[in-house]
């Protein structure tokens, strides 16, 4: 099996962040799978590449958990696609995940910042 070596500029997703990224993407409006992957890549300026093998299990998991729901529809090119949509529960979950992420990001930033700036 050929190993996949991501380009150097690409960042591996932090564990547990994929769900949040999907929810955030869907917060802008309903989307199908390929669109979600594209949007994540575009908004991270190509730094985040979502594996198909991770994306669909995550979508199905979120759907099972009730954070999103899905129905068949058509794409702009008239292809039959499964369109995912954020639910109210998904919206609540996004906001808690976002605040958790903010805390984590602040904390890490604090640690990583130069010592002098941190002192009163």
């Amino acid at each position: 099996m050929p190993k996949k070596h991501p380009p150097a500029s690409r960042i591996e997703l932090l564990q547990g962040t994929l769900d949040m990224l999907i929810l955030q993407t869907l917060a802008w409006g309903p989307r199908y799978g390929f669109g979600i992957a594209q949007m994540i890549r575009a908004s991270s300026r190509n730094a985040l590449q979502v594996d198909t093998g991770s994306l669909y299990p995550a979508l199905h998991r979120l759907e099972r958990q009730g954070a999103i729901n899905a129905e068949w529809g058509t794409s702009e090119n008239n292809q039959r696609v499964r369109i995912y949509r954020l639910t109210a529960a998904g919206r609540r979950r996004l906001s808690t995940e976002r605040s958790k992420w903010q805390q984590l990001a602040d904390a890490i930033a604090g640690v990583m910042a130069p010592l002098a700036e941190n002192e009163p």
């Binding site: 199908y32 794409s75 696609v81």
Partner: protein, 881 residues
């Protein structure tokens, strides 16, 4: 793209939504790349690469297609075969391990089938055949039946198709200076018909040929005899063959492959029961209800159980008791399945086969643990494939079935190889049994459908043992973590390595138990070889002449014996020579006799018995058996003088409790005998048991025409043979001695069962250690490769190679120690199962344990050497990558 077509084709089935979704995704990715200016080919290729392995997607799509069960099975099998081919090293090692495990069980199963359960090739209806044995006063142990009783039992029965006498007999054919012993069966006339054996030439026996003293000298010879001795003479019927000085007319030739009905021997001839007196020096017994000599079978009617038949027999036996109270009181009848048969060699082998089966199961378990271990490693190698398939929606159950199918393939190949191996080894047991007197023992494994079924069942159930855990582990992969492309530490690794450690410990423990057992039986065999049975084994040579078969009566035989002894004593290099009616550890067994002792009152239900041997003067000196008190027999102790006896020390302590018995009396067979001496104990039947009570009587006072010759000499047996033959020929050119062997050789033959056990346990013990070492090696090699970064880091931080060596070794040796500890506990608890075949060795003998320990540690070190060395030489650069 055939993927797309494939997915479209399968759209009609359920569960197709995900595949459609994925399909669309793929197409969109391709379109997008084309829109960005890539060529359609490049776009497709890139999109596919990004998407993941097409092969797996296809597999998943197939799984989701929901096709028929059988179709899925063939798909699984095809896929499995492909996976096995892709990793030939793994496949070969796994199949080899399983072949050993399954093959070991098939070998022992074939032996059990051929020796215990369906012991008589060529016999129809073996499952309805039961052994008929006699009992006395309900005491344990079985005895033979008398002819009149046997006939009455048959007449009174309704649940049986036939009663069959099958009594082993022997005769001697002499040509030149060689005496050849033949084994045959004395059978009731219905024998061939009841067993469904049709002679290839001529007939079986006619109903009237069963009775009448020596009235029907007819014989059926074996196919082999016909071919070898008579060169396949087509006009053989009507010709005669002399057995025991009686000319027998050959009336039939048994079919090829029918060996008779006595486990261990291939019969060479059959005669009807009317010829009993010609083969039994004890005289005509067909009219004597007291004489118990019949061994035989009964053929149950179809649908009759052994319990129903037993009830009928018990009632018939009770009627006989009241009809003939004088002789039949206390006599009962027991029907036994063939494998518990009382009179042939099956009983000797039963315990050995039982051990063999236990050992084979051990080997199978160890092999399964090994393969489980291999599969765990393999599932780690395949984790990416498995996670992709899970990610793409394959159900865990489906995935587990795929893994099980692969395991089943392994097992099926191994079962085929194992059965082949077993078939090849089916007659190997015979190798452990030297031919006594030129008659070869035959113990053949039987490969009928039941052995095949057993092997298949073992093959299938072994799959559960070796595949269940790895399959469960694989399907429990944590998707999101494992999917990350190059994750070195996929989750579940810790779990899995712990599991592998457990397997290695399990293997080590089982191997240790086997090694300890092998050590114990080996020590025991050594002990038996070096132990003294109570008589000299060196410098005593034994042989025999069958005067009865040559037609001598007692008077002529006595003269012959006397002159022969004189001639033997005059051979250069011969110290002494004497005769005895029984030979220790031979098929000229010691007689058992009830006895009464002056001044000893037995309890009401107790019948004192002892073994006896009739010997000539000088026997004790020849055999090197001490006479601590009293005198030897002399030539004056003959038919006309007072009956005398010499008793063994065990007999003295049993009946005189420390008093000096010399001058006191002993009553045997209705005659009082004066005790003139005490002999040291000897062992003569079993080296394992304590010496049995034994008394000796002068041969002249209890004459036999079938005696053993014992010669104390410094000459080797081969050198003695020619002079011995010359002296015998000088007396009667028609006679010749049987094989001339040392008593040591004679005793050695009694250790066959031990030698089989040593060979089985030794061989399988070594195999087990090898398998366990392979397991340990695999585990270590893997662990070291997994820890390369850590080890490299340690090197970079200044750890010396010796430190790393210690680090890695301590892990492996810790596991080994744990395994040995566990095995030690199991061994201490279980080796007493071997106690019945151990001689002078405690089941907890520390030497066996220490030896097993040393072997285990050495092999563990051997297994760790390469991985540890590799670990110690870890390049620090690896830590930085």
């Amino acid at each position: 793209m055939n993927l797309a077509r494939f997915l479209r084709l399968n759209r009609a089935h359920g569960d197709e939504e995900l595949s459609e979704e994925l399909n669309t995704h793929l197409r969109m990715a391709i379109d997008e790349r084309i829109a960005r200016g890539e060529s359609p080919d490049a776009a497709t290729a890139h999109a596919h690469r990004e998407f993941g392995n097409v092969g797996h997607v296809q597999e998943v799509a197939r799984e989701m297609s929901g096709s028929l069960w059988l179709e899925r099975l063939t798909q699984d099998a095809r896929f499995g075969l492909r996976m096995l081919r892709r990793a030939p090293g793994f496949s070969v090692v796994a199949i080899l391990c399983l072949t050993l495990g399954i093959g070991a069980n098939a070998v022992v199963g074939g032996w059990m089938e051929g020796i215990l359960f369906r012991p008589y090739p060529g016999v129809a209806n073996q499952q309805r055949l039961v052994t008929v044995a006699g009992t006395q006063n309900g005491a344990p142990g079985f005895r033979d039946l008398s002819w009149p009783d046997f006939v009455d039992l048959e007449r009174e029965s309704t649940l049986f198709d036939a009663f069959i006498v099958s009594k082993i007999i022997g005769t001697t054919l002499t040509s030149g200076d060689r005496a050849e012993r033949l084994v045959g069966l004395m059978v009731s006339p219905s024998y061939f018909q009841a067993l469904g054996v049709r002679p290839v030439l001529g007939r079986g026996f006619a109903p009237d040929e069963g009775t009448g003293r020596n009235a029907h000298p007819v014989t059926v010879i074996s196919y082999r005899e016909w071919k070898d001795r008579f060169h396949g003479d087509p006009a053989i019927l009507g010709k005669t063959q002399r057995y025991n000085n009686v000319s027998h007319v050959i009336v039939g030739v048994a079919p090829e492959g029918f060996l008779g009905t006595f486990v261990g021997y291939s019969m060479q001839f059959w005669v009807p029961t009317s010829m009993q007196a010609a083969f039994d020096p004890g005289g005509y017994k067909l009219e004597d209800r007291g004489a118990q000599w019949i061994e035989g079978f009964a053929l149950l009617k179809r649908g009759v159980t052994i319990d129903q038949a037993q009830a009928e027999m018990s009632a018939a036996a009770r009627r006989l008791e009241s009809a003939y109270p004088d002789v039949d009181r206390g006599r009962g009848v027991r029907l036994l399945p063939l494998w518990r048969g009382t009179f042939d060699n099956a009983q000797n082998l039963l315990p050995t086969l039982r051990i063999g089966f236990g050992v084979a199961v051990f080997v199978l378990l160890i092999a399964c643990a090994n393969v489980a271990n291999l599969l765990l490693v393999r599932s780690f190698v395949r984790r990416h494939e498995i996670t992709v398939r899970l990610a793409l929606g394959a159900r865990r159950l489906r995935l587990m079935r795929q893994l099980f199918t692969e395991a089943m393939l392994l097992s099926m190949i191994a079962t085929a190889c194992g059965v082949l191996l077993a078939y090849w080894l089916r007659n190997a047991l015979t190798l452990f049994f030297p031919a006594p007197g030129g008659i070869t023992y035959t113990f053949h494994g039987d490969f009928d459908w039941r052995v095949w079924l057993l092997s298949a069942a073992i093959g299938i159930s072994s799959v559960i043992f070796f595949a269940a855990v790895p399959a469960m582990q694989s399907s429990r992969v944590d998707l999101s973590a494992a999917l990350k492309a190059d994750s070195r530490a996929a989750s579940g690794t810790r779990d899995r390595s712990r599991l592998r450690n457990v397997l290695v410990v399990f293997q080590m423990a089982l191997s240790f138990v086997l090694l300890v057992s092998a050590g114990l039986v080996f020590e025991s065999l050594q002990g038996m070889r070096s132990a003294s049975p109570g008589f000299s084994t060196h410098e005593v040579v034994t042989t025999s002449i069958n005067l009865f078969a040559a037609g001598y009566d007692s008077a002529r035989a006595k003269t012959f014996d006397e002159r022969l002894l004189q001639r033997i004593r005059s051979i250069g290099g011969v110290d002494t020579a004497s005769l005895a009616s029984s030979t220790p550890f031979s098929n000229r067994p010691y007689g058992d006799s009830p006895l009464a002792v002056d001044g000893f009152v037995p309890k009401s239900d107790e019948q004192p018995t002892a073994s006896y041997n009739a010997v000539t003067p000088g026997y004790f000196a020849t055999m090197g058996i001490g006479l601590p008190s009293g005198r030897d027999f002399t030539t004056a102790d003959d038919e006309s003088s007072e009956p005398v006896a010499i008793v063994s020390e065990t007999l003295v302590s049993q009946f005189w409790r420390g008093d000096n018995p010399i001058g006191k009396r002993l009553r045997v067979q209705g005659r009082w005998r004066r005790i003139v001496g005490i002999a040291k104990n000897i062992k003569f039947e079993s080296l394992l048991d304590a010496p049995k009570a034994l008394f000796y009587i002068p041969l002249r006072q209890n004459f036999s025409t079938q005696v053993g010759i014992f010669i104390r000499t410094s000459k080797p047996p081969d050198a003695l043979r020619s002079s011995l033959t010359r002296e015998i020929h000088a007396l009667d050119p028609r006679l010749a001695p049987y094989e001339v062997i040392t008593m040591r050789e004679q005793v050695e033959r009694a250790t066959s069962a031990q030698r089989v056990a040593v060979a089985l346990l030794g061989l399988f013990g070594v195999l087990a250690v090898l398998l366990a070492s392979v397991g340990l090696y695999g585990m270590m090699a893997y662990a070291v490769s997994q820890r390369r970064r850590e080890l490299g880091l340690r090197t970079a931080l200044g750890a010396a190679p010796s430190t790393l060596l210690r680090l890695v070794l301590s892990d492996a040796l810790g596991l080994t120690a744990l395994g040995i500890l566990l095995g030690g506990v199991v061994a201490v608890a279980s080796t007493r199962l071997l106690a019945y075949m151990l001689y002078n060795v405690s089941p907890r003998d520390p030497r066996a344990f220490v030896a097993a320990l040393v072997v285990m540690i050495l092999s563990a070190l051997g297994a760790c050497l390469l991985p540890a060395w590799r670990a110690a030489r870890t390049d620090p650069i690896t830590a930085l990558r």
